[in-house]
């Protein structure tokens, strides 16, 4: 099926037509709902105004003083949360460990590393026979299935296999990462989207300075 056949199939599916008179009645229903909302809002704002007046009457401290106190408390809480001693600054320890390990391995096998696979038994390597892998931007990829999780460091254009499914890793000109499987596509521009049964996370590795 090509794109035009797909579009044709989609367009042939019509929206069911409502009963006769529906479209004449719809605007009337909308406008009467608006009218009701307006009346409710008016009643609510009158009640709220009365309640506010009563509340500030009970607490005689001026409103500005209360607000200033609340702002100061929030600022203090935020400061303590952000700068508390011993706060961990590196986001993902697995990622940091993978970066370190990858740089060590590429130092040992320059231009030979296709992929480094991280699992429960530690890192394992997929190497080329000859040092013929051109240098390109390395990518960290995490593919989590329903029961387990697989982590890799690889390069654009390399293929990864998880539970028999092959994923191709690609980097576009702006540094965006795409992980393309047979049934799913994951893009770093929309990291929240789930790719089939897998949760995928991928990002370029910082290059060694």
């Amino acid at each position: 099926m090509n794109n035009s056949e797909l579009s044709k199939a989609l367009l042939e599916s019509k929206v069911p037509e409502p009963p006769p008179g529906y479209w004449d009645a719809f605007p009337v229903r909308v406008l009467s709902q608006i009218q009701r909302h307006r009346e409710n809002e008016a009643a609510h704002s009158m009640t709220a105004a009365a309640a506010t007046k009563h509340r500030w009457a009970v607490f005689p401290v001026p409103r500005l003083a209360w607000l200033a106190g609340a702002c100061a408390f929030c600022a203090l809480a935020a400061f303590l949360l952000l700068f508390r001693p011993g706060r961990e600054r590196s986001g993902d320890p697995q990622f940091a460990a993978a970066v370190k390990c990858f740089h060590e391995i590429t130092g040992l096998f320059p231009n030979q590393v296709r992929t480094v696979v991280f699992d429960n038994n530690g890192p394992s390597l997929v190497l080329s026979e000859e040092p013929d892998i051109p240098f390109s931007q390395p990518v960290y990829v995490k593919i989590a299935g329903p029961t387990d999780e697989h982590r890799f460091v690889t390069f654009s254009g390399q293929q990864l296999v998880v539970h028999g499914e092959t994923f191709e890793v690609l980097i576009d000109g702006q540094g965006g990462v795409l992980v393309v499987g047979k049934q799913s596509v994951w893009s770093s521009t929309e990291p929240g989207l789930q790719a089939g049964p897998y949760r995928i996370e991928a990002r370029p590795l910082p290059t060694k300075s």
Binding site: M1, L6, E12, P19, F26, L31
Partner: protein
Amino acid sequence: MPVLEPDPSRDTQSRMSSGDPFESVVREHQRMIYSLCYRMTGSQADAEDLAQETFLQAYSHWLQFRGDAKISSWLYRIAVNQCLNWNKRRTRREILHREWSSETWESSADLPPSHSRVQNALLQLHPKQRAAVVLTIYDGLSHKEAAKALGCSETTVSWRLFAARRKLKALLADLYPTKAS
């Protein structure tokens, strides 16, 4: 599509009067918004509720509407957000799928059998991908216009469409069996 200039000097009471421009906005766009909501939900009842909510939202933000934009684009954006929020709230999706096939409007029975296949396939897409398909394929918006309605970049729309087409082709391959790859 006529563009109505909002008039901030008019108060809400005068807007509710007979011949109100907002009523003509509803009349003019009701089918478009209802269709979008139906494609997004697969349910006539929910589409009706969401279309009403869309116009209520539009009315409450009527003064903020910028006259340089098309009303239809503005309504699309509100409707898409309504549908995406509806999807987040909805926890009974499987029940919805079952309900859909047995809904009672007589006109549904007149539709060809492939209709339910297509609508079910649409419902299996991620809601943001579905919105991209509805806006570009059904409503004929350009990627730029769809990106504006969805609040994302054109590239993101393109990727959502790519992923959506890939999945829809897999789900609907047998509608074109002779050419299926």
